[in-house]
Symmetry: D3
């Protein structure tokens, strides 16, 4: 019996120890719910919360969004997120931000969607050509050239992009209406999924022949966000 009691105590410790990291929600039901993991292997829609009495200022804090990022990659841009994965205090609060660095002469944040967020972007440096495309049947491209201090809105789930059309680097801060907005980069999802989408699907979808689809699938993609 004594052994069993020891075992029980250890089990309690294990259970507590395994509870260190993962759960958000669609609206806060309390002042805040700082994200943390639940028991190992247990997940909820969003993230579990830290004991609210243990919340600290650092749970609501992140540094380094002023650091210029390396954009030496195929698309010429780098996205630095500040969402619930980086700032656990954002859990359940429905907002996050990102810093985007764009290489000079064409650095591109390629066409993508955020399945759970509208984006509002402010240019800190440089000149961007930005746009989004409306849904069927119109597929209207709404586009604009932005300079320092300009603000633009990309409505939730619509395909959008930004490209640096200046000769110097560009930087933007963008806010997103979710603590976990998600990103679907069109080129990656369509031509570089794992496993690949059948070339029968893609040849008919893009009205091209199979060799071209295979060429598109063979390009090496870069996930910048």
């Amino acid at each position: 019996m004594k052994l069993l009691r020891h075992v029980a105590a250890i089990v309690t410790l294990i259970v507590l120890a395994t509870m260190v990291a993962d759960a958000t929600d669609p609206g806060s039901l309390q002042d805040f719910c700082v994200a943390t993991n639940g028991p190992a292997g247990v997940f909820v829609n969003g993230r579990f919360c830290k004991d609210p009495n243990l919340a600290k200022a650092k749970d609501f804090f992140l540094s380094g969004l002023d650091i210029v990022r390396n954009t030496n990659n195929p698309v010429g841009s780098t996205v630095t997120p500040a969402n619930v994965a980086q700032i656990p205090g954002l859990n359940t609060l429905g907002i996050s931000i990102v810093r985007v660095d764009y290489a000079p002469n064409g650095g591109l944040n390629p066409p993508h969607t955020h399945p759970r967020a509208t984006e509002i972007l402010v240019v800190l440096e440089g000149t961007l050509s930005v746009g989004f495309v409306t849904s069927n049947p119109n597929n209207t491209l709404i586009t604009k050239v932005l300079k320092k201090g300009d603000v633009f809105v990309f409505p939730v789930s619509l395909i959008h992009f930004q490209q640096n059309i200046g000769k110097t680097r560009a930087v933007a801060i963008a806010a997103l209406s979710s603590q976990n907005p998600g990103v679907i980069t069109i080129a990656n999802a369509v031509f570089n999924s794992k496993p690949p989408i059948s070339s029968d699907v893609l040849t008919k979808a893009f009205q091209v022949d199979k060799s071209l689809v295979q060429y598109l699938q063979s390009r090496s993609w870069w996930i910048n966000n």
Copy 2:
């Protein structure tokens, strides 16, 4: 004064007459809100409602979802919607359905997203290869072959498709979790927007050269939903 009273009466009639068709909402605040137009040129998020005391059975009704559709088009599929545009009683109620017909030997409902809806599909006839791709960074393709009576789920905003891999026509009924789910066909939004997305953006996004992008943009697209 008498003339003016007549005018007033006529004006009231005109105002009423112009109120014949356009407005939904994120959750019903009453038994139902049958969609109708508001005053000419006035729009709300969703649609205006018909006087609830004038609601009729036909406002909640549509016929013809049993009719086999012509799929003689480039992608080999036709989507027949039954959403708030066809059934005004769906307004504010958060659901709709579609019938999809697929041509034999490859008829395709090409890669697309619904910005405001999850889809659940049941096969009535034929054999479909279906799939959806998860968001970054994994871009996992979740795929399955479906036969008559099989059901599959496409989570909200993810890129998905269905292709008839049988030698006979296929038919499915799919339900969507919005009265106005929206459709973004990837090929159309990316390569056939009006005006077109700059080829500078697309060459870098797909890591191909400009002539290939122009070729992709020159293909004639078919909006089947």
Copy 3:
């Protein structure tokens, strides 16, 4: 100590093993949240999620909705659900479907409500008389006869029914705007709750005498959904 380490390992296995089945949510905060159980005896509003990296196509799949059901029961109908209980991938996604089979000559899906869902129904076979009743004070019956290919909408929480008025069997597919819509069959909830509602309540509510209430309570009810 070595024994205890073994015990600890086993405990971890047990904890993981017991996590195989139970938790949804009002809107997805991630691509999807495939339902699974949490630790034994632990529940959340909705269901816990499977590790998203372990999601498989079968989590989004169900077969057999083409199979004709036996309707040899008192009400002459059978409802075959495809909700989060059958398709764990529906968790948090706000939609589900059902197949309903109706016996010839009066097979009835009796008056009921869905506390969390609007229903949209399409007739695959046969002829149905359907209806719903608006709330107080009007209690208007909105009713329609439906044939193959006809679609009808039953707004959330309103009492509704379908009856086969043809001489052959009837079949419908209906979609519901919740992954867990719930069903309250009026006759069962009012006259066959466990324990029964006091006959004092029912005699006054229905303005009849106690023997009639007792007769109504003595009828054997059939839960077909």
Copy 4:
């Protein structure tokens, strides 16, 4: 032309004059949205708002909830609502209250549901037997006797009732989680809709013969809320 200008002015007045009364919403997007009518014949999901700068204290006010109501009616109860129809300031705010008076010796608030609200009730006077029934398949009756100062909760959309089991009158205040909760009195909706539900439906639903259904339909119903 001068006449026309007069007409135009009058028309403007008419349009303004007809805007005096009808529109709520699922969450306030501003401090408040005091309900008012929109243009004649124009409706939205919920109600239009008064110009916020014209809001007055009386828009948020109602008097008389202390007045004892007459309960001399077939069910022996009277519900006095204080929702958006009585207090326009409640529009978009998601809450309302009612006063319920119960006659001595059985005064009944008969089995009903609120399609859009949970109810929490506090007894001011008397002794009530209350209950609600869970959904299929269990249909469990959760029931309790309440005295002065007792509080009870009736979850959204579930069938519930209260009966005065004391020899003196009873009074309760109940709050509902909607500015327009709606009421479906089961007896009225099932046996006294306009037009009536087909007796074929009701005989099969309640497993009784047609004459009994007709008897139930012939009882005169009383809508007390």
Copy 5:
């Protein structure tokens, strides 16, 4: 092996035993979700649920809201809550109530906000002067004197108060549109936080000198709700 089985059984008991107290949600996804604790140290946004099959009438019940409270404290009022902390059945259902007792001659429920709820109040006894202040830039005070039977609405998140201006005690019942509405008493949050807000902030915010801020911070505050 037998020992290990015993250990496993005990572990299960421990896990169950530690699950006794804490989790709500933004909308019920089932009939109800009676609040309970999850595993020790594990929290979700809101509260975990009790096994729904174990729900009892007492989970939806509270007594004693008729008891007159002692208001012998600095502000002269006492708030008695009936929210998810007192009635676990309120979890996920979006509503709660409070009783407020006010001392004669000025008993005050001091200026405060509910971050997650609109309040609707009915006066049971006495005479209250109540008010709320709109947001910037107007900061309009909407105020009214209430007598027995009067009802008033305080919109979500706005600063509001009630004061007994009669010579006898006053009592009110108020309903709130959340199971966990939260309270921020302005005086306490601004002048008595732990640790205190820097006097540099407060001197500039209130345009007064530091000694006055320190005097305000030195007053002993009373949290009555």
Copy 6:
């Protein structure tokens, strides 16, 4: 009759002309709903929408967020908003941003709440001392010193502030989880409402004497946001 037709035409023009400016909503039911006014004097919860086919890039655009603002005012800060009032395309999309300029040596964004938004702030320049206070009963101050590139979160509805503690000016960009977040500056709402809150309320709330309350009320307040 001809005259009347002219009148009708003019009336239509008038109605159209008066529809130029005012209505948002809690979630977009379409790609976007660019804010505009409805008919004169008619309001909805949020704003009316422009005809979606007339949406232009400028509806989603604002310039000038790079311009340094004058902070020569009593609190030493200036808030420059970019919400639905400045960018009509933000309507229904649940997000907005602000630029805040802080004077050197103590420039303060004084204690305030946003009734409908969480805020996430990134420092572009300078050094800020920031904080928020949790709700009752703890009233814990969560505080942090932020430098360039640092990010901090202020949860929805909690009282918060930022003060420039450096010797040079400071600048921040902050995002808010609403297109119309609202601001309640505590000092203004409590001590400078129109009309003023009764000094009886304030003397008891702050536990000070009437002359001190009158002094606090006599200070001239500055609304900087």
